[in-house]
């Protein structure tokens, strides 16, 4: 079984963005960029490495600390090329990875976790959502050991993911199968995780959506002056939620999202259902 603690994340950022007309990786997203949001979201979900696969010579926006960048050796071979490069770069460091494109502005950790749980069966090579009317090979799980097979298929001129799926064990997850997961059903009932933005109108529509509802609570000295207890605000990033409740993310303050890592990174992406705790950095007793 692949535990989340072992799984990796791979973001394929090398697409040409021809329909968008400008690089999707660098599109602004609530004070950050789409690529930074996607990589940061994977970083807060998996414990293994998070990789960005870029096109040769591609300029990337700033990435969160710890995210690795690998470059495709050749350009123009599509996502299969990026998949091969990313899986090979993982090597022995992770048995499987959630692999996605950079343009999933509503990707939710609950979907990533659900997909990766598909590797509970050791015989499964690919966990493939088939939802919202499409196969979703760029929001899917791949076993790292597929790297050689993908490379071989590329060498034979097979550039489509569909060819890969003919040669390995694929578990497909339709809408119902995905939403049978209670966390995913609660946190992303419309499977917006799989919404991608290909054209300027898609992007504009995505940006126009309300920011996610998150629950924020202040603790200790930060809660004095009648600021105790949880409250709900709309915010897409830690910086936005701090601003919404009047907290400066200085060295005396840290935050944790859902009881996980401590951070004061204002660009940390938030998703629906997140609970943000702000507390004094001067812990001790």
């Amino acid at each position: 079984m692949v535990a989340l603690a072992e799984a990796a994340g791979i973001v394929l950022a090398g697409g040409r963005s021809s329909r968008m007309g400008r690089p999707k990786a660098a599109l602004e997203w609530h004070g950050s960029t789409l690529l930074r949001r996607t990589t940061a979201l994977l970083s807060r979900t998996v414990d293994g490495p998070v990789l960005v696969v870029a096109a040769p010579g591609q300029d990337l926006p700033e990435l969160p600390p710890g995210v690795e960048v690998v470059a495709d050796p050749v350009e123009g071979q599509g996502p299969m090329r990026g998949l091969a490069t990313g899986l090979a770069a993982l090597g022995e460091r992770a048995p499987a990875a959630f692999v996605c494109s950079t343009d999933l502005p509503f990707l939710h950790p609950a979907l990533v976790r659900r997909v990766l749980r598909g590797f509970a069966d050791p015989g499964v090579d690919v966990v493939l959502p088939v939802a919202r009317g499409y196969r979703q090979p760029l929001a899917a799980g791949y076993r790292t050991s597929l790297a050689a097979l993908v490379e071989k298929l590329l060498g034979e001129g097979d550039l489509r993911p569909g060819m890969l799926f003919r040669h390995c064990e694929v578990v497909q997850l339709d809408d119902a199968a995905l939403l049978a997961d209670p966390d995913l059903a609660r946190l992303d009932p419309d499977l917006d995780s799989l919404v991608n933005v290909n054209e300027p109108d898609d992007y504009a529509a995505a940006l126009a959506r309300p920011e996610p509802d998150v629950v924020v609570e202040r603790f200790g000295a930060l809660a004095s002056g009648g600021q105790r207890g949880p409250r709900t605000v709309r915010a897409a990033s830690l910086g936005a939620v701090a601003a919404a409740v009047g907290i400066a993310l200085d060295r005396h303050v840290v935050a944790a999202v859902n009881g996980d890592q401590m951070t004061r990174d204002p660009s940390l992406p938030l998703v629906p259902g997140d609970a943000v705790a702000f507390l004094s950095a001067d812990a001790g007793g």
Partner: protein
């Protein structure tokens, strides 16, 4: 002439059937500069005066009250003293700090430390002032709580004396009994049992002299500046809510040990939170002498009276035992104060016993997680060392687990025999290392590595090389703060700690001490503790955590799993050894030992020499 802030001597008091005799032990400038005071100087004294392999509850075991160069100056939070001895709980070095007027009066007896050895014929009090030491029989104090003892000796000897006393648990040799002064405990490691084994109920000190500093005007200026800084945001938490502010915050970040470390969040945490209690029950705020922070928060108790509450006693007697009723936790904390019990070890040991009872490993069906009255009953049994369960639990969780067996050592919440404080090692993995390698055992005051975990600058779920560096840094800073001595609640006000601490020491002592020298001092103190423990038989096998922490992952609210494996901890411990200049077994080299100014003592007692 000694350096400013010092008298250049310790008073070594031998008590015996015939009374007390005392003699000064000269402390030369090199030793004082190398170890400063507090836990540093106490460690050196234990090396010098303690026999290797001695029974910590034996007559010849020394117990040292150690002051510091800053005591008596107007520097905020400097009125603190260390108590240092070989621990009956761990069999290794233990050092604990307490505060307030005992520190000032003790130092102004004209001594940088007061060391007590021997055993009195009957329960007595030891009085030390400018004329030396004398022993007064005090059988009437038998069984009194420390606070009432302080009242009684004040009545008997007058108000000029300051008192450090033990409660009934110390008299009866409970291995985690405390010594306390004015309601504040030198809590960890069973120092109260060491004093009790000497048949000494209390040590009374009275000022007899003054101590000079090198540059009075500069000290006053530094004190004014430090006091102003002590009112800033770095101490806001302590002023406004006290350490109990940790409870709800730690619950929110999955690091509140619950039901003997089986969970990291506690559903009853809101009832015990400082935020809640402050509104409903807060009655007063208090501070130690010479302190401008005022971290002590006093709450009203149901049925009358009040109780000072800190994070560690609420954690240990609340979530760790599954108890959520604040009145039960207040009562248990008050009971520990009355008995003179370390709340962390008491709570940890009872929580372990609750789990044993629920698993059928011990025959105490009444002892269940969440049962406040059962917790109180267990504490009373411990304090009186009631035959059976009370006697068993009075030994601490490690010894008790060795008796009970059944794999219960795997979930005994201890390192080196000392019960874990309220920081979950699996979700605070720099702290996991700090807890594993610290000389005192599982301890949050000599290793504050949780600072790194909670800083937002490290992956707290994935300990590695960065956490090793961080843990060593906090251990070094603690070594200096606990030796010079300043309260750690001030630590956040220092931007460049070693440089700023050197700047405080210079006008007090007259030394040209700088940051690099203090860093070396820190390393020396940490190493001296480790060498003491090696002398007493500690090995690398002691630098670990209970199996539960290494084999049972925790699931967080985020969906991620917090796992700390033996391999990961082992790699961090190996990194710690390497960076501390120790060999792969965690041992110091002869050369390093030779630089500890132990004057041949370690050669005589060291395993190297036998």
């Amino acid at each position: 002439m000694p350096a400013g802030g010092y008298f250049g001597r310790a008073l070594v008091v031998d008590v015996a059937d015939s009374g007390a005799t005392s003699a000064p032990l000269p402390l030369d400038d090199a030793v004082l500069r190398a170890y400063l005071g507090g836990v540093g100087l106490g460690t050196w004294l234990l090396h010098r005066l303690g026999r290797a392999g001695a029974d910590p509850l034996g007559a010849d075991a020394p117990l040292a009250f150690v002051f510091s160069p800053l005591v008596g100056t107007p520097l905020t939070t400097s009125a603190k003293f260390a108590v240092v001895a070989k621990s009956p709980l761990t069999g290794l070095l233990t050092d604990a700090l307490a505060s307030s007027r005992f520190a000032i009066a003790g130092k102004l007896t004209g001594n940088d430390a007061i060391v007590v050895r021997g055993r009195a014929a009957e329960l007595s009090v030891l009085l030390v002032d400018g004329d030396g030491a004398r022993l007064e029989p005090a059988p009437e104090l038998t069984g009194l709580p420390a606070a009432r003892t302080e009242d009684a000796v004040r009545e008997r000897f007058g108000r000029g004396w300051q008192t450090a006393a033990i409660g009934p648990a110390g008299e009866r040799g409970v291995r985690y009994a405390t010594i306390s002064h004015d309601g504040r405990h030198a809590g960890r490691g069973g120092l109260g049992a060491v004093l009790g084994a000497k048949n000494i109920k209390a040590v009374l000190v009275r000022s007899a002299t003054r101590v000079d500093v090198a540059d009075q005007a500069a000290v006053l200026a530094a004190a004014k500046d430090l006091r102003a800084r002590s009112f800033g945001p770095a101490t806001a938490k302590y002023r406004e809510l006290g350490t109990l502010a940790n409870l709800l915050a730690f619950n929110a970040v999955s690091t509140l040990p619950t039901r003997n470390f089986t969970e990291v969040t506690f559903e009853g945490a809101p009832r015990l939170a400082a935020e809640e209690l402050h509104e409903l029950r807060g009655v007063a705020r208090n501070s130690c002498a010479s302190c401008s922070i005022g971290c002590e928060h006093i709450y009203s108790r149901k049925g009358g009276g009040s109780q000072r509450m800190e994070y560690e006693n609420v954690f240990a007697l609340g979530p760790l035992c599954g108890v959520s009723d604040p009145d039960d936790v207040f009562a248990a904390s008050a009971r520990c104060d009355e008995l003179g019990l370390d709340t962390i070890s008491a709570g940890g040991t009872v929580a372990w016993a609750m789990e044993c009872a629920e698993r059928g490993l011990i025959d105490a069906p009444w002892l269940r997680f969440g049962d406040g009255p059962a917790l109180l009953r267990a504490l009373d049994m411990i304090g009186s060392r009631e035959p059976g369960l009370g006697e068993l639990l009075a030994q601490g969780s490690r010894r008790a687990a060795e008796v009970v067996g059944g794999g219960s050592i795997d979930f005994a919440p201890q390192v080196k025999g000392m019960e874990l404080p309220g920081y979950e090692p699996r979700t605070l993995q720099a702290m996991a290392l700090g807890l594993a390698v610290n000389a005192r055992g599982a301890d949050h005051n000599r290793s504050g590595a949780y600072e790194a975990d909670l800083s937002g600058e490290h992956d707290r779920l994935n300990g590695g090389a960065a956490q090793v560096v961080a843990a060593i840094g906090t251990e070094d800073r603690a070594a200096v703060m606990d030796s010079m001595i300043l309260c750690k609640f001030l630590r956040g006000v220092f931007d460049d700690p070693f440089t700023e601490w050197a700047a405080l020491l210079r006008p007090v002592t007259g030394w040209d001490v700088d940051a690099d020298e203090l860093r070396a001092t820190a390393r020396r103190i940490v190493l001296a503790k480790r060498v003491f423990n090696q002398r007493e038989g500690a090995t690398a096998a002691d630098d670990t955590l209970p199996r539960r922490m290494l084999e049972t992952p925790l699931r967080l609210g985020s969906g991620r799993v917090a796992a700390l494996t033996a391999d990961r901890l082992g790699a961090m411990v190996a990194g710690y050894y390497a960076q501390r200049g120790l060999d792969e077994r965690g041992r110091a080299s002869r050369e390093a030992e030779g630089a500890l100014l132990l004057e041949g003592h370690t050669t005589e007692n060291s395993p190297h020499g036998t």
